[in-house]
Every structure is written in structure tokens, then in C-alpha cells.
């Protein structure tokens, strides 16, 4: 009998606590429970038998902590013996109907980018356990106690890629209904369903009583069967020892309440015993069974946030895209991820709900860049991302490494496109944008576009992608070449909404290509499109006219409670004076208030970014750009730098001044378009291997940039080889290394050694919290810089500036 014949169709019951019972049997502190599979098999066997006799249908192998990190030598034997013991228990108790769950718990390590376990390494670690367990005869994979959705994703992929058994996943929510990494019930459910988990739910952390609101939300959001395995109450400290004190009677009464919410699988976790399970089965199996109901919601998520499409229109920020942006292209070529991240954060501040990520450029390695940008963006923003690429390899890399359920842009009606993209969405999960065009091109009528949409819906169904995970792009084409095109697009939107109950998306600003004052057309078109049901608007949220249309639409459509969103955005502001100028940038109101009219030098010395920009613009009207740099900017920066060296100016002030100077440079650069500022020299900066602190390095970077150096920032935890290779390839004269911990000074020394050997003419400056002149001398550095200014002075001496 296959589990899937029963799962979601009748009551199923899991076993209860294992670790707590082994501890009671004498498991010592620091002793790994899985070693008992070999050392004390009888105890494990007895435990399985007790749960099977209590009536459990699904019981766990003793493999919760089994992975190659904890068992580098005997993992296979540990896992295989665990499954064998489970099989033997089934025979002994005559419970051949029970299902053996290969139990998989967290690795204990935190995944990159917050921690240091690479995602693919996690997939490998889990995959190894799955292969042993599945080949030994487990009936299903139970991934449990996951407090990080990303790690759960790695485990699900490992299970799916290494066996064909059903995969069940339970995560550990705290009393606020969140994972440790911030995920909510909604975001977790969406991601796991996207990955095609066969059932999902909650275990550990809380008792049945505290789980009530979480289970309620689970049953409201999940379309697959829901599993609930609580602890025997909250752990309580009694004279310094941990006790779980909800007894079998009370526990099972609570389980009845939880079961009534519409769950399908019930069991227990820490502190529960065979008796807890027996009483639960007695009571719950008498209740009417409810099958899970498909919820048909369209949800994209980040690691912590779920955005539902179809409630009110959502804004997808379009700025992470090189098309028509010289600066962005340059950033991609230089691998200047910081610049790309700042584009993302600015859009978030301006009101985007989702960020489109398009990093396609013919001359770069797009899959690698996609991976890098997606991962790094997810370490600074909790907005969901839209992976936007025409390269299937880049798309897969982005989707695989993505922490959550992404939006994917795009598929179209062409067979080739469907065959390349849909298997990826079926595997990794995602909300897929379907462009209403196919082999015949872009249909000129709404009728034609609807036909393509139908084709895409049908193909999705074939691939097992639910219809609600498709969003149709009605295609905005400029009215300057076909004045009827807006009407066609709008009609397409309306029909997707009315005839299919579907969702739509548009790259709004395409509508005005080739026309003057495009935002007039764009903002009105946006309003019209939303009126016809547009669910997702891909726009620049920094464009105030577009955001005005959006906010006004929400207020007028009763989608903005008490008009609070509108009021918050516009109360106390006044309309810009009508002029030929476009609206001012979307800098948050108040940010520059109070800075008044100040000269450039003073603005920089006081660290006022807004007024430094304004003063520069003013100065540019009647002065030569180079004069402004040499007479105002650099001297002001120098004064602050000298103050810092004398101890009268402190680090925050130094950095604020540096930021103001940088902003002023940017303004000047724009005005000089083409005539680049002279670069004094190129310098590599890196935090050495093993060290994940990059604050000091980043400070040095800002200062050096301001003083005219071109920085190749290799980031943190950088291998000596990478640094040396880059130095050779780019022929770099000066390398700056940072280390915060005594333990990583060793890596610094290694790096210097390798550099001396492979590229002896490169100089090395070192710094960091633990660094001293003595240390620097001992490891053979050319210079010890005690702070950022010292680095600047040294660079100036090296490059003779």
C-alpha cells in the first residue's frame, strides 16, 4: 500500500517523542541518539514497537540528526540500521500496514548567505541520507523540526532528486507563528506547496494549545494535507530541569480541538509518549474526516513575506534591469553587486512589493550573476523577487537558490519556451508570467492573445502547475506605432479577469515608447489598466507620477483603508510647481529638511548628503566641474580626514562626510557624462577566508573611492587563491586585506605568502580589529593601516598621488 492512497483521504497518525524517551532511558549529554541504532538497538526497537502498538500509522526512523557532518565515517551504517530496526518493529508487532518515515532533521548549521553552509552542500548532505534510507526500504521522507524555510527547501529538493517516495515536511513555528528565520505560515505553505511537498505542517516548539492559531492558519492556507505533531506542552523549568507536563488525557483533548480545524495527520513530538498517541488516536479517529481543499490563491514569497496577487494590484519594481541603462550595464560588467542592491533597496523604500531581477547582458555569465544577485538581494531585502531572464540556465539557477517561492518572468505560447520553462516551475515552484505571444508572433487582437493565454493555461496543467500560478502578460505595445494597441491590451486584461478569473501583468511604460513626456501617458494608462483588472504593474516605483496614479486608484477603489496609504504619502506635501521638469526624485519627505541652503564644503563637512547634491548642482551652473572637485570637494574631505586623524572628528562623521562627498561626485559625474574622473589607481579589497565581518573593509572602500581609487571589492570570506588570481588578472599593485579575528589572521598570512610567490610586485596593506603593527610585520604585510584614513594615505604614497 502506498502512503499516497491514504494521505488526505483518511485519518493518519504519527508516532510521538523519541529524543525525550531515549534520554529517560539513559542517553547521556553529548551522546548522539542515532548511535543507539548500533549500540542499543533493542531500546530503539522497543520504542518503535510501543508506538506501533499504540496505533501509529507513520513512525520515524531514529535518524533525526543523522548527516555526514555529525557522522563523517559511519553515516550509511547508522541510517541503514535505523530503517532495518523500523522494519523489524513492523514485523514484530504485525503492523505491516504502518509506514516507515525516514526522519530528517536540520543539519544544525545555518545556510549561506547568513551562515556558512552552502545551499548545494545542504542538498548533498540530505541527499546522502535519503539515498541510504530509501534503498533500505523507507516508505516516505519526513522532513521535520525545520526552523529555516531555506534549509527545508534544500531537504525537499534532496528528497525529490534522490528518491520517488512521498515527502512530508513539518516546520517549527514559535508562539508568534513565525519560523526562526522570519517565515510565516503563509510564506512557508506557499513555498513548500510550490516544491510539491505531499503534506506539510508543524511540529515541536509548542504544545497543542499554543499551536491552535498556527494550525488554524495552516488549514486556511494549505491545499495539501496538514500534519500536526506538538510537544507535550511548553517545556517548563522545574528546579533547573526541563519538563513537559501535558499528560496523555489533556494532550488528546487538545488534539481533538486541533483535528476539528481540518487537519489530516496527527501525532506528537518532544515529551509525548505512546500513551499520548494511543489516547489521541482513540479520540480523533472518531471525528469526521475532512479532505484538504485547494485554496486557489496566487502567492509569491520571500524568506519571510508572502505577497498575494489578485487582492489589490501589486507594484513590481523594474529598475534591476540593464536595458537602456548605461550605468547598470557597467555595474554588471564590473560585478558591482552593491550598486544593484542599492537599486533594489531604493525601490523598496519607494513602495515596490516585488522586485524584478534581470541581469542579462551578452558578455557576462548570466547564471552566475543571477545566483549572486538573487542571493545577495535576499540578504538585504525581504521583498519577493521576480526572476526575469530568457536564459533557462540562469532561470534555473535563480529559482534553485531562491529562498521562497519566486515570480518567474517568463514563458510564452511557443512550444520551445513552454518545454524549457514549465518543468522548472513544476519542480521549484513559482508564479509564472505567461506572455500572450507564440510562434505566430504577437496577436494583434485581444481574441488572439486570449487564445495564446488558453494555450499557456493548458500547458501548465499538463505540467502540474496550478492555474492560479499563471499570470498573463497582456503585452503593452507603444501607441506611437499602433494607436489601437492600448485598447487591445486593455481588452485582454478584462477578458482574463472576467472569462478566466485569472491574473495579469504588464510592463506598463512600454505603452508610450517614442512619445514625449512619457509619464503622462504611462500614469493614465496604469489607471486604465488597473480598472480593467491589472494585477501586477511592472513600473519604476521611484517615478512619482506612477505612484500617484497607483495610490489614487487604491483610494478610489476602496482598497486603501481610511485612505491611510494615500494620506501617509501625501499629507503635508504640496504639488510640484508646473514646469517642464519631471517630478522630483522619490526621496522620502523630510530627509533633507532642515539642511537649508548650505555651501558644498560645509555640506560635506557636516555630512549632509541632500544639501551637498543641491550645492553641487548650483555650483555647476557657473563653475568648471574640475574646479569644484579640486577647490571645494577634496579640501572639505581632507579637513574632515585630518580631524579624524587628530581625534576631533569621529568615525560616523567621517563616513557621513564621505557619503555626502560621494553624492556630490555623482552629480558632477552626471554633468560630465563621458569624461570620466581620473582614476588614481586600482585596489583590491577583501576580508580574508573564514572571516565574515566586512564592516571595516566597507568603510575603507568608501574612503578610497572618494579619494579617486577604483576598488575591486571581492567581499568577505575570500580564499587566498581568488585574491591572487584577481591580482594577476587585473595586474593590481595594491591589495587591502581585513581580518577581525585572531583566528583568521592565519588566512591573511596565507594570502600574503601566496601573493609574494605568484605576484611579488603587489603591495599589501592590512587592517582590522585584531591587527597591530607587530602582527602586520610578523605576517609580512607592507603596511598596517590603523584606520580608513591611514589606508588612504598609504594608497596615495603607493600611487604617488
Amino acid at each position: 500500500m502506498n502512503l499516497l492512497d491514504k494521505l488526505g483521504k483518511e485519518w493518519l497518525f504519527c508516532d510521538g517523542g523519541m529524543g525525550t524517551i531515549l534520554q529517560a532511558k539513559g542517553l547521556a549529554g553529548g551522546e548522539l541518539p542515532e548511535t543507539w541504532n548500533l549500540k542499543r538497538p533493542q531500546d530503539i526497537l522497543d520504542l518503535h514497537c510501543a508506538y506501533l502498538e499504540a496505533g501509529a500509522d507513520i513512525f520515524n526512523t531514529n535518524t533525526f540528526g543523522a548527516n555526514a557532518l555529525k557522522y563523517p565515517h559511519d553515516l550509511e551504517e547508522i541510517v541503514r540500521s535505523a530503517v532495518r530496526l523500523a522494519k523489524e518493529a513492523r514485523v514484530r508487532t504485525g503492523r505491516e500496514d504502518a509506514f516507515i518515515a525516514l526522519d530528517i532533521g536540520p543539519t544544525g548549521k545555518l545556510l549561506e548567505p547568513m551562515g556558512d553552509l552552502p545551499f548545494e552542500r545542504a542538498v548533498e548532505l540530505f541527499g546522502e541520507v535519503v539515498r541510504y534510507g530509501a534503498s533500505e526500504g523507507a516508505d516516505l521522507i519526513l522532513i521535520e523540526t525545520m526552523s529555516d524555510g531555506y534549509e527545508a527547501k534544500a531537504a525537499v529538493l534532496a528528497a525529490k532528486e534522490n528518491c520517488s517516495l512521498p515527502v512530508l515536511v513539518t516546520t517549527i513555528f514559535d508562539s508568534r507563528g513565525k519560523l526562526l528565520t522570519g517565515g510565516t505560515v503563509d510564506s512557508t505553505v506557499a513555498m513548500l506547496e510550490g516544491l510539491k511537498a505531499d503534506a506539510l505542517g508543524v511540529n515541536c516548539g509548542l504544545g497543542p494549545e499554543q499551536m491552535l492559531p498556527i494550525v488554524k492558519r495552516l488549514t486556511e492556507t494549505a491545499s495539501v494535507p496538514v500534519i500536526v505533531n506538538p510537544n507535550a506542552g511548553l517545556p517548563r523549568s522545574e528546579n533547573g530541569r526541563t519538563v513537559y507536563d501535558v499528560g496523555p488525557e489533556e494532550f488528546s483533548d487538545w488534539m481533538v480541538k486541533l483535528a476539528a480545524l481540518g487537519i489530516q495527520v496527527a501525532g506528537g513530538c518532544c515529551g509525548t509518549t505512546p500513551e499520548h498517541i494511543r489516547r489521541t488516536i482513540e479520540k480523533v479517529s472518531k471525528l469526521p474526516f475532512k479532505r484538504p481543499v485547494p485554496k486557489k490563491r496566487t502567492i509569491v514569497t520571500s524568506f519571510s513575506r508572502a505577497v498575494e496577487i489578485g487582492l489589490k494590484p501589486v507594484i513590481i519594481g523594474e529598475r534591476i534591469n540593464p536595458t537602456g541603462k548605461k550605468k547598470f550595464k557597467e555595474a554588471l560588467r564590473r560585478k558591482d553587486i552593491e550598486y544593484i542592491l542599492s537599486e533594489g533597496l531604493r525601490q523598496e523604500d519607494a513602495g515596490a512589493h516585488i522586485l524584478d531581477v534581470n541581469v542579462g547582458l551578452p558578455e557576462i555569465d548570466e547564471p552566475e550573476m543571477m545566483e549572486s544577485v538573487v542571493t545577495k538581494l535576499q540578504s538585504v531585502t525581504d521583498l519577493p523577487l521576480q526572476i526575469d531572464t530568457s536564459d533557462p540556465a540562469a532561470m534555473e539557477r535563480g529559482m534553485r537558490l531562491y529562498n521562497g517561492k519566486p515570480m518567474v518572468n517568463s514563458v510564452n505560447g511557443k512550444r520551445e519556451s513552454i518545454e524549457a520553462v514549465m518543468p522548472l516551475v513544476a519542480k521549484y515552484g513559482g508564479v509564472l508570467v505567461g506572455l500572450a505571444l507564440d510562434e505566430e508572433g504577437i496577436p494583434g487582437t485581444a481574441e488572439g492573445r486570449i487564445r495564446v493565454a488558453e494555450k499557456i493555461y493548458a500547458a501548465a496543467e499538463e505540467y502540474g502547475i496550478p492555474r492560479e500560478d499563471i499570470v498573463i502578460d497582456g503585452l503593452a505595445m507603444t501607441i506611437s506605432s499602433d494607436t489601437g494597441s492600448a485598447a487591445t491590451t486593455l481588452e485582454t486584461l478584462r477578458r482574463i479577469r472576467d472569462d478566466f478569473g485569472g491574473h495579469t501583468i504588464l510592463g506598463v511604460s512600454n505603452i508610450s515608447f517614442g512619445l514625449p513626456r512619457r509619464e503622462i501617458i504611462n500614469s493614465h494608462f496604469l489607471t486604465m489598466a488597473m480598472t480593467q483588472g491589472l494585477s501586477c504593474a511592472i513600473i519604476n516605483p521611484g517615478n512619482e507620477a506612477m505612484m500617484q496614479s497607483y495610490r489614487a486608484f487604491l483610494a478610489l477603489q476602496d482598497m486603501d483603508e481610511n485612505c491611510m496609504g494615500y494620506i501617509e504619502a501625501y499629507a503635508g506635501t504640496s504639488a510640484p510647481a508646473p514646469s517642464g521638469q519631471s517630478a522630483p526624485s522619490a526621496a522620502p519627505a523630510g530627509k533633507t529638511a532642515g539642511e537649508g541652503a548650505m555651501g558644498l564644503s560645509e555640506s560635506i563637512e557636516r555630512g549632509m548628503t541632500g544639501s551637498a547634491e543641491a550645492a553641487t548642482r548650483g555650483a555647476l551652473k557657473d563653475r568648471d566641474p574640475m574646479d569644484i572637485i579640486n577647490e571645494d570637494l577634496i579640501p572639505a574631505l581632507d579637513r574632515v580626514g585630518q580631524g579624524f586623524e587628530k581625534g576631533t572628528v569621529f568615525l560616523p562623521q567621517l563616513l557621513m562626510s564621505a557619503e555626502a562627498a560621494k553624492a556630490a561626485f555623482e552629480v558632477i559625474k552626471e554633468s560630465m557624462a563621458g569624461t570620466a574622473r581620473e582614476v588614481k589607481g586600482r585596489i583590491i579589497l577583501a576580508t580574508v577566508r573564514g572571516d565574515i565581518h566586512d564592516i571595516g573593509k566597507n568603510i575603507v572602500k568608501v574612503m578610497l573611492e572618494n579619494y579617486g581609487y577604483d576598488i575591486i571589492d571581492l567581499g568577505k570570506d575570500v580564499a587566498p587563491e581568488t585574491i591572487v588570481e584577481t591580482a594577476i588578472r587585473e595586474d593590481i599593485r595594491l591589495v587591502g586585506l581585513s581580518a577581525l579575528m585572531t583566528t583568521t589572521v592565519v588566512s591573511m598570512e596565507e594570502t600574503i605568502k601566496l601573493l609574494r610567490e605568484k605576484k611579488p610586485d603587489t603591495l599589501v596593506v592590512v587592517g582590522g580589529a585584531v591587527m597591530t603593527q607587530e602582527y602586520a610585520d610578523a605576517i609580512g604585510a607592507d603596511c598596517y593601516a590603523k584606520d580608513a584614513m591611514a589606508s588612504v594615505r598609504y594608497a596615495d604614497s603607493v600611487f604617488g598621488a
Binding site: 525525550t20 534520554q23 529517560a24 542517553l27 547521556a28 549529554g29 553529548g30 551522546e31 536540520p106 544544525g108 548549521k109 545555518l110 547568513m114 551562515g115 556558512d116 523540526t145 526552523s147 517549527i172 526562526l180 528565520t181 522570519g182 523549568s237 528546579n239 533547573g240 530541569r241 526541563t242 552593491e338 542592491l341 542599492s342 533597496l345 531604493r346 540578504s379 538585504v380 531585502t381 525581504d382 557636516r606 555630512g607 549632509m608 569621529f650 568615525l651 560616523p652 562623521q653 563616513l655 557621513m656 564621505a658 557619503e659 573564514g690 572571516d691 565574515i692 566586512d694 564592516i695 566597507n698 568603510i699 568608501v702 579575528m741 583566528t743 583568521t744
Partner: protein
């Protein structure tokens, strides 16, 4: 224990300035304003957590220090062992110990990473604010431990963390296991033994049968530190 958010909201600005290197000097108005913004943002993002347990302590003659489970604990055994001289001095005359771990959660780290992209100046202020907040939260948890200890008839030494003196960072692994740090409050260790979230602290607090606790702020604030033989180095 007081509400953690209230505790960190009361973080002393003087401490933030100290971490920024001002050492008692005033920051100018713009920086002061930034400190206010950053404290607010870091507090809003924080999800503080704390875990502690009382343990047995054996001080061997050869200088080894062993911290063990209590006889009444479910799981028996040694929790950590070290030959650190600095810790031995701190624990001289002690008959028990608490292990504690606190964290501000992942939110503040996200704030700092965002600031690092948009504004390095803001980033260093957020860092300093986070450090001061973590200390404030540590003090509060330490106070709670003192109360519990005093009910049991113990006085407390100042807390002592891996990284102080010669106490090695490798002990973080023992803290991880003994306190179930990851499961309880979400602290993970990297291979190089750094804690994530970064605004996290672990510490050992010695218990004595003496009459009075040491100063909670540690030896630097203690009026009797001069000539005290337990002084933290």
C-alpha cells in the same frame, strides 16, 4: 524578567557613543539625531531571545574547570571543560555556575546589511546601537539570573564570555549544545565559531556562597575592583 523590547528601548545613548569612539565626548546634533533613528530602527527589528541554565562546577587542582549538568537534570554529563586561566581566576571560590546566551535576533543584522548598501555612516551607528542594545539585554538577563541565584542562596560573579582573556572561542560549541541555542533562540555557529545573529552573547556566571554579588557591569564599573583577586582581565 522585564519585557525585552522595553529593556532595549532604554539602551543608554552614552553606550552607543562609546562604541562609536566618542568616549564621553558629545556628538554633534546631526549624529545625535542619527543615533536616535538607528536605535529606533534596530529596536523595531529586534526579536530578543535568552536562554540560561544552572550547572554544576568542578575546579580541579591542576587548573582545569569542568561545568556539568546538575544531578537532577534529565541528561547527565560534562557540559564544558577548559583550562583557561582567566576564567579560573573569575571562578575562584565558586561552587556552581550559570550558562547564558542572549540574542537580538536576525532583524538587526538585516538593518545593518541594508545600511551597509545605502549608507556606511548609518551602518556604523547601527552597529554601535546593536552592540549597546545587546549589552543592555545581557544585563537584564544577568539580573534575572541573580534573582534566581539569590533565591537559591548564591551570589554571582560578573559574567565571563568566550574571547575574554584566554577563554577560547571553541567553547561556543559547548554553549550551543548545553543551551540548545539554535533551537531555543536561533543562534547558529559558523565553522569559524562566530555566532549568527551577530548581535548575540554567551557567558558563564560563577556562583558563590558569599554575601554579595559583584557589580553587574563588571569589574570596570566596580568600586572594589582595585586589588580584587577575582578581577576579570
Amino acid at each position: 524578567m522585564r519585557n525585552a523590547i522595553e529593556v532595549i528601548r532604554e539602551t543608554d545613548r552614552k553606550e552607543v557613543r562609546r562604541y562609536l569612539g566618542y568616549y564621553g565626548k558629545k556628538a554633534d546634533a546631526a549624529i545625535e539625531e542619527q543615533i536616535g533613528f538607528c536605535l529606533e530602527e534596530m529596536c523595531t527589528a529586534a526579536e530578543p531571545g535568552a536562554v540560561f541554565r544552572r550547572c554544576g562546577l568542578i575546579l580541579h587542582d591542576d587548573g582545569r574547570i569542568r561545568i556539568t549538568a546538575l544531578p537532577e537534570d534529565r541528561v547527565q554529563g560534562t557540559l564544558m571543560e577548559t583550562a583557561s586561566k582567566s576564567l579560573a581566576r573569575n571562578l575562584q571560590g565558586c561552587c556552581g555556575a550559570y550558562l547564558m546566551a542572549v540574542t537580538l535576533g536576525q532583524g538587526p543584522d538585516l538593518v545593518v546589511r541594508r545600511a551597509a548598501v545605502l549608507s556606511p555612516g548609518k551602518m556604523v551607528i547601527c552597529q554601535a546601537a546593536g552592540a549597546a542594545m545587546a549589552e543592555a539585554w545581557c544585563d537584564e538577563v544577568n539580573r534575572e539570573i541573580r534573582e534566581e541565584a539569590s533565591r537559591l542562596g548564591f551570589a554571582c560573579r560578573p559574567r565571563f564570555s568566550p574571547g575574554y582573556g584566554d577563554l577560547p572561542l571553541t567553547l561556543q560549541k559547548d554553549f550551543e549544545t548545553a543551551l540548545e541555542m539554535k533551537k531555543e533562540i536561533g543562534i547558529s555557529l559558523t565553522d569559524s565559531l562566530l555566532m549568527v545573529p551577530t548581535k548575540s552573547v554567551t557567558a558563564i556566571i560563577g556562583l558563590t556562597r558569599e554575601d554579595t554579588d559583584c557589580d553587574i557591569q563588571g569589574c570596570n564599573s566596580c568600586s572594589s575592583a582595585e586589588g580584587c583577586s577575582y578581577r576579570r582581565t
